[in-house]
């Protein structure tokens, strides 16, 4: 048996604590959300700069592949995979490396779970690979990147 002690106050302006007394539908909210998402997709289509795959991109891809090979790191199966994804400037990597906020995102990327509260050991190949990309496409960002990550205690995935 449940007793309600006081249904008029201090529960606020709505005396009956019924979560379920819905009186309106949410069509306008759903419509607004759908429009907002559509606008966001259109804006991102317009603003997103796709990597340019040209002769310069291929030259850079060759340089990266050489560096990855030299460092003993895993290679993509073809040069075009590198040039298609990194283009001439690897903007997505270069513009997000060596800054406090993006480095914080990196830490978060290694955390797991819905609440992202526990970090997994950071794998060495990931950092070494990113360093190789920076060295090839934007050498100016290398020092800031290394400064942040040099003291990390890294997990070695590769087998002896």
């Amino acid at each position: 048996m449940i007793q309600e002690l006081d249904i008029s106050s201090p529960v606020g302006e709505h005396p009956i604590p019924e979560r379920h007394a819905y009186t309106h539908n949410n069509r306008s909210l759903y419509a607004f959300t759908a429009v907002f998402i559509a606008v966001l997709i259109i804006v991102s289509f317009v603003t997103f700069t796709r990597p340019t795959n040209n002769a310069t991109a291929t030259t850079k891809a060759v340089a990266l592949e050489t560096l990855l090979k030299k460092e003993g790191l895993p290679l993509p199966t073809s040069l075009s995979e590198i040039s298609n994804s990194l283009g001439t400037s690897a903007a997505g990597v270069c513009d997000t490396s060596g800054y406090n906020l993006t480095d914080a995102i990196f830490n978060q990327q290694f955390s797991v779970g819905a609440t992202a509260g526990r970090t997994l050991p950071v794998e060495r190949e990931v950092l070494d690979g990113q360093l190789a990309i920076l060295d090839t496409y934007c050498p100016g960002r290398v020092s800031a990147f290394v400064r942040h990550f040099h003291a990390y205690d890294l997990y070695q995935l590769s087998r002896p």
Binding site: P17, R19, P121
Partner: protein, 498 residues
């Protein structure tokens, strides 16, 4: 007159008004709640991180699933099918309101640092598709965190129907559909005669052994599955909670496992570890993947979808633990009446508003003060330690309630409950203690310093804060009393029948 105490069948002829309310209350279908749960627990965010471990990611998900996810799911299903109200109710039934408060506070407290971090991640993903340089802008990050939180709070204030509708739709559009695309592309890549970027031999199922780091890797991954119990607080909104909530749990566990494992494998097949480039978050990995198929134009679409999935998860989280806090606050007087106020849709807007103020302050500190963003992960470590305390209490409550209330009707009974609880407790305790092992990121002092920082934070934000709430509670803050421990909201029709 309380609707909760009214049997709908008896009320049909005599109490028209309460019946009308009861008739409107079952607003969430089990399918909707399944996708709400999926939106809380899983996303594609982890795919590139786990892809780094290649085929080993299967085991890295399977072991924690057996040791933690399955017990968590089955026990939540049993408890929710017998006692509506979620974690506060289960623990209160077993150990009394003070421990119930500790449990619900532990669930709520970990959201304090979670929202700013999640929304910072949303900001970086948005920056990637708009202009990657924005990702390092404090102003952009702060605006996104603050703006999105308040938008989510307004949406949540529209009621559980809006929350369940948007969060379940978000999980389908932002997780399930892109997940299917991702796996489809991965299979197409292999079918096209390409070699997998990560080795896929049988012996690769075992991740490389690297001492304590490997142990940390496996045990910490149990946290991949946290949050399954969050929506149990809304169980009364199902038509037939006793039958439907277990169904929600079973479907959720299946969908989450498929999403986690297959998405990680798909990235591992196509993108080598050395080009994952995780400072850009999940987006660079997706960009690489689409680049292989000359589908670069898809990158911004998937970016927006992933943002949508994160926001839908956040909306579901916002409505979950805060409801638990509200319920125990109303029944036991732990929180002032101001925070107990409900809006027209029965939502705890004042809790949302104050959490929004705190989130906004944290967002500014995170975005503008480098030392805070640098060290932010440590706050998340502390709060997840606190969250683990809640899980421990949940498993202990399940064992106690099976013993103390064996005849209580349950819609679902967990098989081998003691074994399940034992596994859950073992894993939770192991994860808790390994939380004191400094991770790769910690290089500002020795292990002892790290332990003291984490233990201090856990003590203050967890039991310390719960103790404070208990100390300041006032009898006249109770606005609802339940002599049988029933929910401060209307209880389920199933309860009414009992």
């Amino acid at each position: 007159m309380s609707v909760a105490a009214t049997n709908p069948s008896e009320a049909a002829g005599t109490l028209a008004a309460p019946l009308r309310i009861v008739a409107k209350r079952n607003v969430i279908s089990w399918k909707t709640m399944t996708f709400m749960t999926v939106s809380v627990v899983c996303s594609l965010r982890a795919a590139p991180t786990m892809a780094v471990f290649g085929l080993g990611s299967i085991l890295l998900y399977a072991i924690p699933a057996v040791l933690f996810f399955v017990p968590e799911t089955l026990i939540s299903a049993e408890l929710a099918s017998a006692w509506p109200g979620g974690i506060y109710r289960w623990v209160t039934e077993a150990f009394g309101p003070k421990i119930g408060l500790l449990a619900v506070w532990c669930q709520y407290a970990q959201t304090i640092f979670y929202y700013p971090a999640l929304l910072a991640y949303v900001a970086s993903t948005l920056a990637y598709v708009v202009d990657p340089r924005l990702a390092s802008s404090g102003m952009f990050t702060a605006i996104v965190i603050i703006g999105v939180y308040w938008a989510a709070a307004i949406i949540s204030g529209r009621g559980m129907k809006a929350v369940s509708g948007l969060s379940s739709a978000g999980s389908i559009i932002g997780t399930i559909i892109p997940g299917i695309v991702l796996v489809g592309l991965g299979i197409a890549y292999l079918a096209g005669g390409h070699a997998s970027a990560a080795p896929m031999h049988v012996h690769d199922l075992l991740p490389a052994w690297a001492g304590i780091a490997s142990l940390v890797l496996v045990v910490n991954n149990v946290l991949s599955f946290d949050g399954m119990e969050v929506n149990a607080v809304h169980v009364s909104e199902l038509k037939d909670p006793k039958r439907e909530f277990p169904r929600v749990m079973f479907w959720s566990i299946g969908i989450c496992m498929l999403v986690f494992i297959l998405s990680a494998l798909a990235v591992a097949w196509v993108v080598p570890n050395s080009t994952v480039s995780l400072t850009a978050g999940v987006m660079q990995a997706f960009s690489n993947l689409f680049g292989v198929f000359h589908l670069g134009f898809m990158t911004p679409v998937v970016g927006v979808m992933i943002i949508l999935a994160m926001l839908s998860g956040m909306i579901a989280w916002l409505a979950g633990p805060s409801t638990g806090l509200l319920l125990i606050g109303r029944e036991e007087g732990f929180i002032p009446p101001y925070f107990q106020k409900l809006n027209k849709q029965g939502m705890q807007m004042n809790i949302f508003i104050w959490q929004g103020i705190i989130t906004s302050i944290i967002a500014c500190l995170y975005a503008f003060i480098p030392v805070v963003s640098d060290a932010y992960w440590i706050f998340e470590v502390m709060t997840i330690q606190i969250y683990l305390v809640m899980y421990l209490l949940m498993y202990l409550s399940a064992m106690k309630l099976r013993k103390s209330q064996p005849d209580r009707p349950r819609g679902y009974r967990t098989p081998a409950l003691r074994t399940m609880c034992g596994m859950g407790i073992f894993t939770t305790v192991a994860a808790f203690f390994l939380g004191f092992d400094p991770p790769s990121q910690f290089h500002s002092g020795g292990t002892l310093v790290y332990i003291l920082i984490v233990a201090g934070g856990v003590g203050i934000m967890g039991p310390g804060a719960a103790l404070l709430l208990d100390k300041i509670k006032k009898p006249h803050w109770k606005t609802f009393q339940s002599s049988t421990g029933m929910s401060a909201f209307a209880t389920s029709s199933t309860d009414a029948k009992e």
